[in-house]
C-alpha cells in the first residue's frame, strides 16, 4: 500500500514555488482567500461521486456516513469560513491602560507562511480539507500529505485539489513514510498533524530543528460515562447515540469515537440488552451496507489480537465475528475485560466496545483520571452534579454531554487535545487562529513623553514612576511641583 511512494526530487522545486507564491503576497489578499474557499465549495459539490467512490473503496464507507462525516461537515465549514472571513481577518482594537500614554493598539492576524498538513486515513477528506480551510482562510500556502493507507482517497485528493484550487499555492504530496520523513526535514512555518502519539513525537522533534510550531491532533481512549437514566426516551436516545458514536462512524476508527463505556453495575443488564436490540435495528439486516470496514490487514490483525486474550474473549457479550477476507468486524460488545489487557490500555480504533462496571457512577472520575487525558469525554446523564464533577474533576480535550461526535461539527467550540491527546486546536475561527500569527501593533505619536521616562535617573524620577504605576496622578502633580519628598 502506498507503493508509489519514493524519493521525489521535485519537492525542492515545488516548495520553492510555494515560497515564491507566498512572498508575492497574493495569498494575503482577502479576494484570493475567498476565491479558494469558493473553489473548495465547488470541489465538494462537483466531485462528490468521486469522493464517495474513493471512500467506499478504501474504507467501505456508506454514502450517508461519508456525506455526514466528511463532505457535509467540510461543506458546512467552508460556508462558515466564507461567512466569517471578513470578521476573522479584521484588526482588533485593543484597550490601553491609562499609563500607556496617548497611543492606539490593535491585533492584526497575519499568515504564518508555508504550512504542512499531515492527515490521516480514517477521514481522508475531512481531516485533510478541514485544516486546509483554516490555512487558506488565514492566507497561507499549503502542502498536504494525505495518508498512504487510504490510497484511492489520497489520489483523488491530489487530483481534485490540483484541479480546483490554486496549484501554485496548495499542493498535495502523496507518499508513505519515506516521503513524510523527507518532508519533515524541511523548514515549515507550521505543521498540523493528525495521527498517533508515536508519530506525533517524531513530527514535533523534527519541527524543533526549525523552531516550527506544531498542532498535534492525536487520539486516546475516549470514555462514555453512562448514568442510569430514568426516562425511556432519554434512555433510548442514549443507546442510539452511543452506537452511532461507536460503530456508525468509520467502524469506530475515529479519534473521538467512544472507546469504552463506564456504567454502574446495577444498570449493566439494561444497557447491554438495549444496545443489542438497537444494534439489530440499526445494522441488523445488512451490516456491511451500514458500516465501514477496517482500513487494512494490519489493523484488522491488530484488532483480532485485542480479542485473542482468553480473558478478553470470555468477556464478549455480543458479536465478535471477524471476516478477514472482507476486513469486516461485527459490532462487538465486551463486559469487564481485564483492565490490564491491551483492549483497555491501547486506543481500540475499531468496532469493539468494552463496558466497564463501577459501583457508583461517581467513581468514573477517578477511573478516567488514572489514565492519560482523552481527546473527549462523553457523559450521558441528567444529573447536574455529575456534570459539574466531570467538568471540574477530569481533564480532556473536550466534554460532550448526552451525545457523541456532534461536537466535531460545532464551529464555535475548539477541537483539540490535551496531554496525551495532543495540543493546539481548530475548527471555525480556531482554525483561522491556528494558522495565523496575531501581530500586536502599538502606535505612538511624537507629542508627549513623561519626561521622567529617560535617564539620567534621580530619586524624583523614581518617585514619579511609582506614582504613575499606582495611577496616583495627584502624587505625580505634587512630585512634579516639588511638594512631595
Amino acid at each position: 500500500m502506498g507503493g508509489e511512494a519514493g524519493d521525489d526530487p521535485n519537492f525542492e522545486k515545488d516548495l520553492e514555488e510555494l515560497r515564491e507564491t507566498f512572498n508575492s503576497g497574493k495569498t494575503r489578499d482577502a479576494s484570493w482567500r475567498r476565491s479558494q474557499l469558493k473553489a473548495m465549495q465547488l470541489l465538494l459539490k462537483e466531485t462528490e461521486d468521486e469522493i464517495f467512490h474513493a471512500l467506499k473503496q478504501d474504507l467501505g464507507k456508506p454514502r450517508c456516513e461519508a456525506y455526514r462525516d466528511e463532505i457535509g461537515t467540510v461543506t458546512k465549514s467552508v460556508q462558515y469560513a466564507l461567512g466569517n472571513l471578513k470578521y476573522w481577518m479584521s484588526a482588533k482594537k485593543v484597550n490601553l491602560p491609562l499609563i500607556a500614554f496617548p497611543a492606539t493598539a490593535e491585533l492584526i492576524p497575519e499568515p504564518l507562511g508555508l504550512v504542512y498538513i499531515i492527515s490521516s486515513w480514517n477521514f481522508p477528506f475531512g481531516l485533510s480539507l478541514e485544516p486546509i480551510i483554516g490555512a487558506i482562510a488565514a492566507g497561507n500556502v499549503v502542502v498536504l500529505k494525505p495518508s498512504e493507507l487510504a490510497p484511492t482517497c489520497s489520489a483523488v485528493l491530489a487530483s481534485v485539489i490540483d484541479k480546483y484550487l490554486d496549484n501554485k499555492a496548495i499542493k498535495v504530496f502523496q507518499g508513505g513514510v519515506s516521503v513524510g520523513q523527507q518532508l519533515l526535514q524541511h523548514k515549515w512555518d507550521k505543521i498540523f498533524f493528525t495521527g498517533s502519539a508515536q508519530v506525533g513525537r517524531l513530527v514535533m522533534a523534527a519541527a524543533a530543528n526549525h523552531l516550527t510550531p506544531v498542532t498535534l491532533e492525536l487520539g486516546g481512549k475516549c470514555p462514555a460515562v453512562v448514568d442510569s437514566i430514568s426516562g425511556s426516551w432519554d434512555r433510548e436516545s442514549t443507546f442510539k447515540r452511543i452506537l452511532g458514536g461507536k460503530f456508525a462512524s468509520c467502524a469506530g476508527q475515529v479519534c473521538i469515537g467512544v472507546d469504552y463505556i463506564l456504567v454502574e453495575k446495577r444498570y449493566l443488564s439494561t444497557l447491554v440488552s438495549r444496545l443489542q436490540i438497537w444494534i439489530r435495528k440499526m445494522f441488523g439486516d445488512n451490516p456491511k451496507e451500514c458500516l465501514a470496514r477496517i482500513i487494512n490487514k494490519h489493523h484488522f490483525i491488530r484488532l483480532k489480537n485485542l480479542l485473542s486474550d482468553p480473558l478478553v474473549k470470555a468477556s464478549i457479550r455480543h458479536g465478535g465475528s471477524l471476516d478477514e477476507a472482507n476486513l469486516f468486524i461485527e459490532p462487538t460488545i465486551l463486559v469487564d475485560p481485564p483492565l490490564h489487557s491491551a483492549i483497555m490500555t491501547e486506543e481500540i480504533f475499531g468496532p469493539l466496545l468494552p463496558i466497564i462496571t463501577l459501583d457508583k457512577i461517581e467513581d468514573s472520575v477517578k477511573f478516567i483520571n488514572s489514565r492519560p487525558k482523552p481527546l473527549t469525554i462523553y457523559a450521558f446523564t441528567n444529573n447536574e452534579k455529575l456534570k459539574k464533577m466531570l467538568i471540574a474533576g477530569t481533564s480532556s480535550g473536550g466534554i460532550t454531554f448526552n451525545d457523541t461526535l456532534v461536537q466535531h461539527a460545532a464551529d464555535t467550540i475548539p477541537f483539540g487535545g490535551v496531554g496525551g491527546s495532543g495540543f493546539g486546536r481548530y475548527h471555525g475561527k480556531f482554525s483561522f487562529d491556528t494558522f495565523s500569527h496575531e501581530k500586536a501593533i502599538l502606535r505612538r505619536g511624537f507629542l508627549t513623553d513623561f519626561w521622567f521616562r529617560f535617564p539620567p535617573w534621580d530619586d524624583k524620577k523614581l518617585q514619579l514612576f511609582r506614582d504613575a504605576y499606582r495611577y496616583d496622578y495627584i502624587g505625580i502633580a505634587l512630585t512634579f511641583l516639588g511638594l512631595k519628598k
Partner: protein, 546 residues
C-alpha cells in the same frame, strides 16, 4: 566581602558553562570547563588561588549531589500529587499565591535592587520600571481579573448540533516548568510564574545561573512567600536543566535563545509537551526622514541603552535609514546620549554593565571584525575590568559581517543606509522574523505598508520597548523569534487548556444520523447542511416513514 567573592566565582563558573556547555547539554563537566577559562580575567586569577579552586570543586560536588535525575523524579512526583489533590485549582489558592507574590515583591524591593546591581549593575530606576513595577502590575491585574478569566466562556451553537448549549472551560494544564533568563532575572521569571499560578498550575522555576544573586534571591523568596508544596525553584545550570527536561511536564515556558530553544522543544517532543519559546532576534528600527528627529532619537537611545544596555530581547538591534538622513540621525543620537549619560558614558551610573566576560568578549569581537572596526562613528571604548562598553554606533557595516548576522544583545548599534526608506523592507524580510519591529515616521502610508509587509512578533510605531508594558497586547515571537505569547490574560490562556464543553438534551435527533441509511436520508442531510429550509421541508415530505 566574602559573599561578593563567592558570587563572582559562581558567576564565572556559570558563565563558562553557558558559553561552551549548552550545545553538549548533558555531557558537561563543570570542573573541565573551569580549566578552559581565559587567564586574563580577574576572576580567573581568583579561581587560580588554591583556596578558591578548592571551593569551586567543593561547590561542584555540592551541585552534583543537590539536583540530579532522581531528585527531579521525586520533585515531579510530589508536585503531581499536590496537583492531583486539586488544591491549586481553587480560586482561593490562586488568589492567595498571587497576593503573596505581590507582597513578596513589595516587601523585598531593596533586596531585588541589590541583586540586580550585583548581577548587572542595573540602575535602580530602571530596575523599578522594568522589573518591580512590571511584575507587581501583572500581579495586580491577575488579582483583579482572575474571577473573570476563570469564568467559562459561553459559545454559540449552530444548527448542526441543535438543540444544544456550549461553553469553553479554562482548566490548568498541570505541572509547568518555567526556564527564565538573566537579563531581566525577576521580570522574566515572575511574569510567567504569575500566569501559571493564575491558571492554577503547580510550577517549577529554573532561574538563570548567569545572574546568580538574582537566582538565589528568587529561590529564597519563593521559599518564604509561596506555597512550597506546589511552587518550587530549582537553581542550577546545564546539568540541572537537563535533569529537569527529562521529566514529563504539562507545559514548558522558556525564555532565551533559539539554539537552546531547539533543545528544549526536542526534549518536550518526547513527552508531547507543548512549549512556549520566548526567543529574540535582530529587531530592526526603521527611521524615516519624515519624522520628529529629536523625539525619535531620544526613544531609540532609551530603548537601546536605557534598557539594560542593549541586553534586551526587544531592544532595537540595528537601524535602517536613508543615506541622506543618516548624518542627522547620528548627530541627534549623539546629543541624546550626552543628555542621558553625560560626556563620559563609561562612568555613568545610569547604565547597566555587561553580564559577564563571555558576553563582553563576544561583543568586542563583533566590533573588532575587519570592515566593522573602521565603521564606528560613536563610542567604541571598552573596559574589561568593569565589563563595560560605551554606547557605540556603527555606520554602514557590511551586511555579511558577524554583527549583522547574530543578535547583538549589547550596546552596539549598527546603522544601515538605503536610498529609499522603502528599501528597508527588503532587508528586514530577507532575514528571520524578529520579535519586534520599530518604525519612526510621520508618513501614514509608510506606516501602513510597514504593518502590512513586515512580519514580526510585535510592532511599535514611533517608540521602542513600551509595547511590552501593555497587558492587553500579547507578547511573543513568530518564526525564529519564538512561538506562543503571554502577558495579562494571554499568560492565563497560555497556561490553561481550553476545554470545549457541549451540552445536549435528548431531543432533536435528525433521523439522518443513524443507519439504516436510505437515499432519502442523504437528501435530507444535504439540505440540512446547506441550510436550505425549503429543501429540508421537501425532503421531509418526500421522506418515507422512518
Amino acid at each position: 566581602m566574602i559573599t561578593s567573592v563567592d558570587c563572582r566565582i559562581d558567576a564565572t563558573m556559570s558563565m563558562t558553562l553557558s558559553s561552551s556547555g549548552l550545545n553538549k547539554i548533558g555531557s558537561l563537566h563543570i570542573a573541565q570547563t573551569c580549566l578552559s577559562m581565559p587567564s586574563r580575567h580577574r576572576s580567573w586569577r581568583l579561581l587560580c588561588s588554591p583556596i578558591c579552586s578548592a571551593s569551586v570543586s567543593l561547590l561542584v560536588e555540592e551541585r552534583r549531589s543537590t539536583f540530579d535525575r532522581e531528585k527531579a523524579d521525586r520533585l515531579v512526583k510530589d508536585l503531581k500529587k499536590v496537583f492531583n489533590s486539586g488544591k491549586t485549582k481553587t480560586y482561593e489558592w490562586r488568589i492567595a499565591q498571587l497576593t503573596s507574590m505581590l507582597k513578596m515583591i513589595e516587601e523585598n524591593e531593596a533586596d531585588i535592587y541589590r541583586a540586580l546591581y550585583q548581577d548587572l549593575s542595573k540602575p535602580e530606576s530602571e530596575a523599578f520600571i522594568s522589573e518591580v513595577a512590571m511584575t507587581t502590575g501583572s500581579c495586580k491585574l491577575a488579582l483583579k481579573e482572575l474571577d473573570q478569566w476563570m469564568k467559562p466562556q459561553k459559545a454559540k451553537t449552530t444548527v448542526t448540533t441543535y438543540p444544544s448549549s456550549a461553553e469553553i472551560v479554562s482548566e490548568p494544564l498541570g505541572i509547568v516548568l518555567v526556564i527564565s533568563t538573566w537579563n531581566y532575572p525577576f521580570l522574566l521569571s515572575l511574569d510567567p510564574v504569575i500566569g501559571a499560578l493564575a491558571a492554577g498550575n503547580a510550577v517549577v522555576l529554573k532561574p538563570s545561573e548567569i545572574a546568580p544573586a538574582s537566582a538565589s534571591l528568587l529561590s529564597k523568596l519563593f521559599r518564604e512567600y509561596l506555597d512550597n508544596s506546589a511552587v518550587k525553584v530549582v537553581e542550577g545550570a546545564v546539568d540541572e536543566t537537563t535533569a529537569l527536561l527529562e521529566q514529563k511536564w504539562d507545559k514548558i515556558f522558556y525564555t532565551g535563545n533559539g539554539r537552546v530553544g531547539r533543545i528544549i522543544m526536542a526534549a518536550a517532543a518526547k513527552h508531547l509537551t507543548p512549549v512556549i519559546l520566548e526567543l529574540g532576534g535582530k529587531c530592526p528600527a526603521v527611521v524615516d526622514s519624515n519624522t520628529n528627529l529629536q523625539v525619535s532619537a531620544k526613544r531609540i537611545v532609551a530603548g537601546k541603552w536605557g534598557c539594560n544596555n542593549g541586553q534586551t530581547c526587544i531592544a532595537p538591534d540595528y537601524i535602517i535609514t536613508t543615506k541622506a538622513f543618516a548624518p542627522k540621525l547620528i548627530d541627534a543620537l549623539k546629543n541624546e546620549l550626552v543628555e542621558f549619560f553625560g560626556d563620559y558614558p563609561m562612568k555613568s551610573k545610569d547604565m547597566s554593565r555587561l553580564i559577564n566576560l563571555y558576553h563582553f568578549k563576544r561583543l568586542t569581537s563583533l566590533m573588532d571584525e575587519d570592515e566593522v572596526s573602521d565603521k564606528i562613528v560613536v563610542g567604541g571604548q571598552r573596559n574589561e575590568e568593569q565589563l563595560k562598553i560605551s554606547p557605540t554606533i556603527l555606520l554602514d557595516v557590511p551586511e555579511t559581517s558577524q554583527i549583522m548576522q547574530e543578535e547583538i544583545f549589547g550596546p552596539l548599534l549598527p546603522i544601515l543606509t538605503v536610498d529609499n526608506v522603502e528599501d528597508s523592507f527588503n532587508i528586514i524580510n530577507s532575514r528571520s522574523k524578529p520579535l519586534a519591529a520599530y518604525i519612526f515616521t510621520s508618513d501614514e502610508e509608510l506606516k501602513k505598508a510597514f504593518v502590512r509587509d513586515i512580519s514580526a512578533g510585535g510592532m511599535l510605531i514611533n517608540d521602542t520597548i513600551i509595547h511590552l508594558t501593555v497587558d492587553s497586547l500579547p507578547f511573543g515571537g513568530v518564526g525564529e523569534s519564538g512561538m506562543g505569547s503571554y502577558h495579562g490574560k494571554f499568560s492565563f490562556d497560555s497556561f490553561s487548556h481550553k476545554k470545549g464543553v457541549l451540552y445536549r438534551g435528548f431531543t432533536g435527533d435528525s433521523p439522518t444520523r443513524f443507519p439504516p441509511y436510505t437515499p432519502a436520508k442523504l437528501r435530507l442531510l444535504k439540505a440540512l447542511i446547506s441550510g436550505d429550509i425549503f429543501q429540508v421541508l421537501r425532503s421531509m415530505i418526500g421522506l418515507p416513514k422512518n
